[in-house]
Symmetry: D4
Subunit: 165 residues, 8 copies
Amino acid sequence: MTRHKVLIVMGSKSDIEVMKPARDRLEGFGIETELRIASAHRTPEVVRELAQTASDRGIGVIIAGAGFAAHLAGVIASHTMLPVIGVPIPSSSLLGIDALLSTVQMPPGIPVAAVGIGQPGAKNAAILAAQILALSDQGLSERLAAFRAEMVEEVKKADREISKT
Amino acid sequence: MTRHKVLIVMGSKSDIEVMKPARDRLEGFGIETELRIASAHRTPEVVRELAQTASDRGIGVIIAGAGFAAHLAGVIASHTMLPVIGVPIPSSSLLGIDALLSTVQMPPGIPVAAVGIGQPGAKNAAILAAQILALSDQGLSERLAAFRAEMVEEVKKADREISKT
Amino acid sequence: MTRHKVLIVMGSKSDIEVMKPARDRLEGFGIETELRIASAHRTPEVVRELAQTASDRGIGVIIAGAGFAAHLAGVIASHTMLPVIGVPIPSSSLLGIDALLSTVQMPPGIPVAAVGIGQPGAKNAAILAAQILALSDQGLSERLAAFRAEMVEEVKKADREISKT
Amino acid sequence: MTRHKVLIVMGSKSDIEVMKPARDRLEGFGIETELRIASAHRTPEVVRELAQTASDRGIGVIIAGAGFAAHLAGVIASHTMLPVIGVPIPSSSLLGIDALLSTVQMPPGIPVAAVGIGQPGAKNAAILAAQILALSDQGLSERLAAFRAEMVEEVKKADREISKT
Amino acid sequence: MTRHKVLIVMGSKSDIEVMKPARDRLEGFGIETELRIASAHRTPEVVRELAQTASDRGIGVIIAGAGFAAHLAGVIASHTMLPVIGVPIPSSSLLGIDALLSTVQMPPGIPVAAVGIGQPGAKNAAILAAQILALSDQGLSERLAAFRAEMVEEVKKADREISKT
Amino acid sequence: MTRHKVLIVMGSKSDIEVMKPARDRLEGFGIETELRIASAHRTPEVVRELAQTASDRGIGVIIAGAGFAAHLAGVIASHTMLPVIGVPIPSSSLLGIDALLSTVQMPPGIPVAAVGIGQPGAKNAAILAAQILALSDQGLSERLAAFRAEMVEEVKKADREISKT
Amino acid sequence: MTRHKVLIVMGSKSDIEVMKPARDRLEGFGIETELRIASAHRTPEVVRELAQTASDRGIGVIIAGAGFAAHLAGVIASHTMLPVIGVPIPSSSLLGIDALLSTVQMPPGIPVAAVGIGQPGAKNAAILAAQILALSDQGLSERLAAFRAEMVEEVKKADREISKT
Amino acid sequence: MTRHKVLIVMGSKSDIEVMKPARDRLEGFGIETELRIASAHRTPEVVRELAQTASDRGIGVIIAGAGFAAHLAGVIASHTMLPVIGVPIPSSSLLGIDALLSTVQMPPGIPVAAVGIGQPGAKNAAILAAQILALSDQGLSERLAAFRAEMVEEVKKADREISKT
């Protein structure tokens, strides 16, 4: 069976502004997504079930975004063998450094793939998930290449404009 | 039923040096302890069961020590209503600041009582657990008072000695 | 005698916005509170008296919130054997990291139970205090369970809504 | 064509102690590896060529370990569409916090999958790479499951031993 | 041939507010500038070409401003022997500390001359570039001296005004 | 009455290595010292009494050295109007950054004069105390001038030696 | 001769908002002040002269406030034997942590008395200066005592009000 | 007149281990050096004179290495218009982060070119100085190119060796 979907989980309703662009980006690549709210601390059973059933539901990559002592990605990773991407969200007063360390500093044995803090990280999480899925999906691989070409063109256009000033 | 035991969980065999003094301190107060190794990431089911059955096994307070992105205390707290004390352990290169933030910065709803980093924190975790249990245990309360009196005397003795130099 | 009240002390009038939710949460659990302003540095005698008389006034847990070099929780802990919960408040330019370290890094012997920085920490302080008091109060234990069930339901509801988008 | 190899690049000869366990872990999973030294700053052309030709050489995932202002993973990611895992190495006086931020805080558009600092991170990088490749390799998937089962058993064994003390 | 121009490169269109004052300052010194947008990650080939051809195009100093894991200055430095000045830009939630460490902590062999974070750093980058070029340009040296004299006078004027209050 | 003595208080017997040089420096200036061990948390009554009676005992400046969440200087300052100098001691795993912030970030109203972390700070505390007392002690003022002249000569001598290499 | 004045120096015109309260506080104590703008980097000769002539102009304490890499207090201290109080000002993006470390971490031999970051620190600098001058000024000593009594009363009043809610 | 010498100043005799490689590197390039010990705080007059006379003594670039609140580079920069390179030295307990911020975060107007912390930074300071001087010295430019070619070859050799393992 193919696992080509991406599950996006966030720890709280308030994380939607940060995580929404990840879904938009994935849909832009033609990747099917599931968007869920589940808290490692308040609804641990939901998190566990989401993680344990993900592979069988056709999910290939899980993106987990959380703030504060962000345990969500790590807890998901403890219940699945799918690659888990963690997005640290700057919800507390500490600018996201707490969420970053809680996400990236996993002890040996259970990895999380951490991306940068906040919305830029969420966007990159989507691209990273697509890069992973593209390993066995030639069409997606081409859409990724087209996306990068667009980015390049965008930067070059800005460069041409500023060079004239 | 009375819950007068303390469960001490650590995330890895290598945490024993840091956590052992917590047990010694509790036994010094005459408090019964359970010492366990369970990892939030490698044996999440064991952690869950330990947490969910703790209250029924006569445990009143749980002390959880972990390093790196220390999720152990938070994950335990998500499965019990007992007070959970978290000891951040400086296992990674970051001196324990990762474990501290992963332990203390819990999102609203599921608290962890964090103490300081490493062995000084582990000792304080034991005293804090005893203070909590002493609320309904007059004998323990007196042993705690005696312990503090000893500490006071120890500092005063050191003071007398240094004053003479 | 029963000690079932919670004393909430804050270091300055301006801390009220952060600490008020702790009181509201405790009252929601039916726990009686005392709300006080006392400064470890400006009114140390008041702090000392509050701490020394707390147990006799029927207080079981003390919550202390302070900013800057937050000494309040530690100073209270030095004058009582009751469990003291410290809430670091982000009053200075340093986002609360100064208050966090001043609260949590207690030297061995006199513990403080630190929670997270700011209002999320204050809310958790209230829940933690309730968890401690619930060890010998079955009714409170049930109210805590109901509160957690509500939180679970709230997250599940948000999850159902977002799943449809 | 299948891309089932893992390219491990490190920025300096002195990183070998940290990165070697990543290769050992991958070989333990039966995954073919290429081990290379290439510096984003001293041999940028080598880095570029390694990245640009990786996919055609049958490589599916790239692991890049570097210290100081660790640009290696990001520079590789700018020259390939394969998933790139970055291992921050604590070579400077700053304990690896410089390498971590240089690796994980990628601007939007070009993701790096960061793991923890140093050897624990290197081990996790290997497991993460295996998890990614396992998405289209049932045999590897089973070896990963067996590896995790062993880890679980190891923790449980340590737990049994400590419980007796 | 004389190399008396300054190339100013920034990683993204949004960096213009921070970097524009560097150009203005250089033009105030009568130094010719090239203003370019090129991203170490999105348009690495443009960055490489800009760096490799800079010396032949009459450029003596390169100023590179970037945010997040700011690799731009280091990547440029890997492709040229001209002095490269790096301006860390506070684009992420981390106030520029990520960009600072990514810029300044270069491994031995390929130096970057880092200045302070954000616009104050950008202004200083321009003055530093002028100081370098002034080593072989007497006229510029005098304009720099005049500029500093003006600064001195400005501070003295503010001092005279405040002394009267 | 003249207050020309310096009271040196440290929070723990183990701080003696750091604080001893402060006393030696003061005695080198011919200033009488009192050396005491008193803990803000374990012997708060001793601290209070030391602070409250200091002025009447002929003490002009108080130096307080402590580690962890270093409350000692602040607590002393709350009980006296004498100038209090705080020396942050790196006793915990956090290199003294916890002690520094706990010492220097005093809320408005009760100042502490913080010096640098550890033994260099302790030496400077002694010199600062001497500078304060020298305001009304011409002889001490001259001994301070002689001390500085010696320092100058020492640096100049090292300079002469290195210049020859 | 008596040195009873306080010299307040700030590094830039923009520091006036932070430093003004220091002067107001000193004037409230009846202490004569000199308010100056002088930059360790832009007008080093002015700084040197201010420092070297301060004692002869009847100044007893110098307060120096500066932001960024705040060298002002340290440079002043290198040119005088008067006690120098440093106020770190949060002018850069780093919230004042750069100014704090640049002020407090003086190498052994030349102390600076650092207070907290920003306006709270500036207020405390004024009180600290007054405490130093009060060592030989009984009237000032009494005004300080009255000031503290007022603070105490203010906190007690706020406490009475909140106790009623 | 040509200014082709490099002045290397360090704040203390103990900095020699860190700074010596800078001199060795420069001599390897055939650049004449002056090695001096001068302290911004203990011998400010020496620092001032070194800086003010440097240009006339044929010096083109100044390298300044210092630890703690490292003011040396900034103070030198305030007394000369030559480019000043600052090397932060990790002398204090804070791993050099204090020296880094004190060196790099210069306020606008007086730039310092900061390199990385410690010996790797010192080596890079030498190369950066050579790059600056090479702008008007074709022979040096060629020696720099040869040096870089050697570095490239060294990395490639290590790569060849590791590829065989």
